[in-house]
């Protein structure tokens, strides 16, 4: 009896709900159905707010993600981050490795229908080097002959080694052989701009309605701190294979909020996650949470020319005593990997990196050896070493520093911590401010060991926070730059890294991992070391 009533009630409720649904569908159906069926929308979380959509003024990876969808360079990354032809169908390199000739595809078009020509690329390379452009990352293209001189105002941009042989043939001449040049061109600084819209709109060419792009998507809306909306570019040469119609990029600075939006189904992907919640995330998201090796190293720079740190044994002892496994597992919840070399493994044009020789030693042995090294260098409980660790304010950087302070304690090292906001921190390092040990991180711009090892060349003003000055090291880096044989070059760079790991101007601590939340519905997001995921290779199911 009671069962019947319950059933009856349930049925009635169901009937009512069905009726309401039917009414709603009947009303909204004609309005919603066509677009709901036809339009595939990708809601994409992107860790930062882009400073600009002008590719020549950008410098960050999250701007790169947006620009990668809007534009197509000479070469592009495919879903697995292999370099594949983009606007250039094929290319040849001269025997001495300095002249690249690109054959551009004849069906490449801008979103307004204009053809993409070699002239467009010449204009773009010249524009980024023009000092008035204020391009933050212009130096990445300095391997091009005359580029540096143009950018510093010493010569005109016309003197640069970039030439349009005809509409579909582009010739680029380099200063010296640069084996990673093709890889360099995947960076957003190498993307073409549409000259016509810059002539017409000036700096406002980046606005929706003005922006003309040559990639899989065209800009529809751009609202700072809210979203960037782009729609499929019908003029794109591979438009037939582009399966997602509309992409929304949302800046997700608050990683906790991004997680909730992902869980609520409002985001299909987000390229970061709140590290302090990794355990819960792994449990709740399962396969939808991904960690992949990333092309970056988390390190402590050591002021190598400072008296108390000048002895290489001190730096070795400090490095040896760091339990990287513990940091990776306990503090970074396995989103980072213990790092024993400065160049991360898996990088292009290289083999295995030059690991520290204590990589496989037990922590107890390492600690003993570290104590012995410090004693040799003259430090003892009576004459203890005091070190200040500087880091930019962040919960995990603090925890890392605290843990390392604890690991250095058995060596008799007293540690003081100092944190400042990120701008102050890096301004201090760059301006050669005084410090003992400072936290820093480096994500490669391109997959080549040179992009890591160049940082401590003695004449590298910007990055050599350690004031490291080793003529042997510089000589090896010069030799590598002149070597065209990739195998030989890798060997030379390996020797340089071996010196690096002995002298430790920077103490490598962890290799970065990239964290992504990727919905089951989003197909085609392949984990890769560059952490690049162009929308054109993806589709949405369900």
């Amino acid at each position: 009896m009671t069962t019947d009533i319950a059933l009856d009630g349930g049925c009635r409720r169901l009937a009512l709900r069905t009726a309401v649904m039917a009414a709603v569908l009947a009303f909204a159906g004609p309005l919603m159905a066509p677009s709901a069926l036809a339009e595939v929308v990708y809601h994409r979380g992107n860790t930062g707010e882009p400073e600009t959509l002008d590719q020549h003024k950008t410098s960050t990876t999250y701007e790169g993600h947006i620009l990668r969808d809007l534009y197509e360079g000479l070469v592009v990354y495919d879903a697995a981050a292999n370099v594949v032809p983009g606007v250039a169908e094929s290319w040849t390199v001269s025997d001495d490795g300095t002249v690249y000739t690109f054959n551009l595809r004849s069906d490449a078009k801008w979103s307004n229908g204009d053809p993409v020509t070699a002239e467009d690329f010449v204009y773009s390379f010249q524009r980024i080097m023009t000092p008035e452009t204020g391009a933050k990352y212009a130096n990445i293209l300095y391997p091009i002959r005359g580029a540096e001189a143009a950018n510093t105002g010493d010569a005109g941009v016309d003197a640069m080694g970039v030439r349009a042989v005809d509409a579909t043939t582009l010739e680029i001449t380099l200063e010296s052989p640069t084996p990673y040049f093709i890889e360099l061109l995947t960076h957003q600084t190498g993307l073409p701009v549409h000259k016509g819209s810059i002539d017409e709109h000036g700096a406002e060419f980046v606005r929706p309605g003005n922006l003309v792009s040559n990639g899989a998507y065209a800009l529809a809306e751009s609202v700072p701190n809210s979203h960037i909306k782009m729609v499929k570019n019908a003029n794109f040469h591979d438009a037939a294979n582009v399966q997602i119609d509309t992409v929304f990029f949302y800046p997700t600075e608050d990683r906790g909020a991004a997680l909730r939006r992902f869980q609520a189904g409002e985001l299909h992907s987000n390229n970061d996650a709140p590290t302090e919640q990794i355990a819960t995330i792994k449990e709740q998201l399962g396969d939808q949470f991904r960690v992949a090796p990333f092309l970056g190293t988390y390190y402590y720079a050591v002021k190598a020319d400072k008296e108390k740190l000048a002895d290489v044994r001190v730096r070795q002892a400090l490095s040896m005593a760091i339990d990287r496994q513990f940091l990776a597992e306990e503090i970074w919840a396995d989103t980072m990997v213990a790092g024993y070399s400065f160049v991360p493994p898996g990088i292009g044009n290289y083999g295995e990196p030059a690991y520290a020789d204590y990589k496989d030693m037990s922590m107890i042995d390492r600690e003993d050896k570290a104590i012995a090294l410090l004693a040799e260098a003259g430090y003892s409980p009576d004459n203890p070493l005091t070190i200040e660790i500087r880091y930019n304010t962040s919960e995990n950087h603090k925890n890392t520093a605290l843990a390392i302070a604890d690991m250095w304690k058995p060596l008799g090292v007293t540690v003081e911590l100092l944190n400042t906001d990120v701008s102050t921190h890096y301004a201090h390092l760059r301006d050669k401010g005084d410090f003992d040990v400072a936290r820093a991180g480096w994500i490669g711009d391109y997959s080549d060991p040179q992009n890591f090892l160049f940082m401590v060349e003695s004449d590298n003003d910007g990055f050599n926070y350690a004031n490291y000055n080793n003529p042997d090291y510089d000589a090896l880096m010069d030799a590598a730059a002149a070597e065209t044989d990739l195998q030989k070059r890798a060997e030379i760079l390996f020797q340089a890294e071996t010196i690096f790991m002995r002298d430790l101007p920077f103490i490598p601590i962890l290799y970065y991992g990239s964290m992504s939340m990727v919905s089951d519905k989003l197909i085609g997001w392949e984990d890769n070391i560059q952490n690049v995921h162009a929308t054109r290779w993806m589709r949405i199911e369900g």
Partner: protein, 307 residues
């Protein structure tokens, strides 16, 4: 009255000028600059940028340039959002912040005053304890806790509201941010109203009104509440200015493109012009709302006259 308003507005100008001057120089004391990134720039590139934005000039000259442009109504370019001018960013963000803040203020006033009056009338009864408890909770739980908890329940678990985004101003997108913004204000207003209402109910003129045999509701609403609202109104000035110019926390958590975020983003990025722009907007709002409060006073308190 009009001459009073005119005098007030006029006398606010030097205040604004001082605010602008102090902020301008204070901002430059912070180490680093707009182009000090995690990855240092090539020296030449840095020089180019400093020249383009006049940052290579002496500080007093930059200040003069800024003031000159300001008088022309030009707030300058943003150093971080390089595709937009500060004026454009504010024009885009302010209406959104004003909408959210206005709704939150309205909600907080309605609920807060209501609760406060109930608490005062039912002083030391269960209803009053309920109000006090609610107010205490509202004040003590910070909005960066309230917002995620609300989102987890209403957006992730029950899926009835969006977890974030502005959604072109759809009502559903406003519910959670407005609630989060309003909650602490509800608490403050409820406490203020309750306190002054209790005081008012014990005052002579209320005793007189009761003695005249006026109905209880008329006594409470027309006579007691009117004088009890004075402290609430004076609190409204700063509260409204703060709410309408946006909340960093709420805007960040819900991904809302309001003006509050620019203030903090600007400061962290050393985006000098953006910080100046937001400072000016906030200062103007504070001055404006203090003026409105003073005018409201004359409506509520017959003793106050601005003739």
């Amino acid at each position: 009255m009009y001459s009073y308003v005119f005098r007030r507005v006029f006398s606010a100008l030097p205040t604004l000028f001082v605010v602008i001057t102090i902020s301008f120089f204070l901002m430059r004391v912070a180490p680093g600059g707009p182009f000090n990134l995690e990855r240092p720039l090539e020296a030449k590139v840095m020089e180019n940028l400093m020249r383009i934005y006049n940052l290579d000039k002496p500080l007093w000259e930059q200040y003069a340039i800024y003031l000159y442009n300001l008088f022309q109504g030009d707030l300058g370019p943003s150093y971080f959002f390089r595709d937009f001018s500060v004026a454009e960013l504010i024009a885009q963000g302010l209406p959104i912040s004003v909408q959210l803040g206005g709704l939150a203020l309205l909600l907080a006033l309605t609920i807060g005053c209501g609760l406060g009056v109930i608490g005062a009338i039912k002083q030391n009864q269960p209803a009053d304890f309920g109000v006090i408890a609610l107010a205490t909770i509202g004040i003590t739980i910070p909005n960066f806790v309230v917002a995620p908890v609300l989102t987890l329940f209403l957006a992730v678990h029950f899926d009835i509201l969006p977890a974030g985004g502005w959604g072109d101003g759809a009502l559903a997108n406003k519910v959670l941010p407005v609630l989060t913004l309003a909650l602490p204000q509800v608490a403050v207003i409820a406490r203020l109203t309750r306190g002054s209402m209790i005081e008012a109910l014990h005052s002579h003129h209320i005793r007189t009104a009761r003695a005249y045999g006026l109905p209880g509701r008329v006594v409470v609403v027309r006579h007691a509440l009117r004088s009890a609202l004075l402290p609430v109104v004076s609190y409204m000035g700063p509260a409204a200015a703060a709410l309408l110019t946006g909340s960093v926390v709420v805007e960040t958590i819900f991904g809302i493109p309001g003006i509050g975020r620019y203030f903090v983003q600007g400061a962290l990025n050393r985006d000098y012009t953006l910080v100046m722009g937001t400072v000016i907007v906030i200062a103007v709002f504070v001055v404006l709302f203090n003026l409105i409060v003073d005018l409201l006073y004359s409506l509520l308190d017959p003793r106050v006259r601005y003739d």
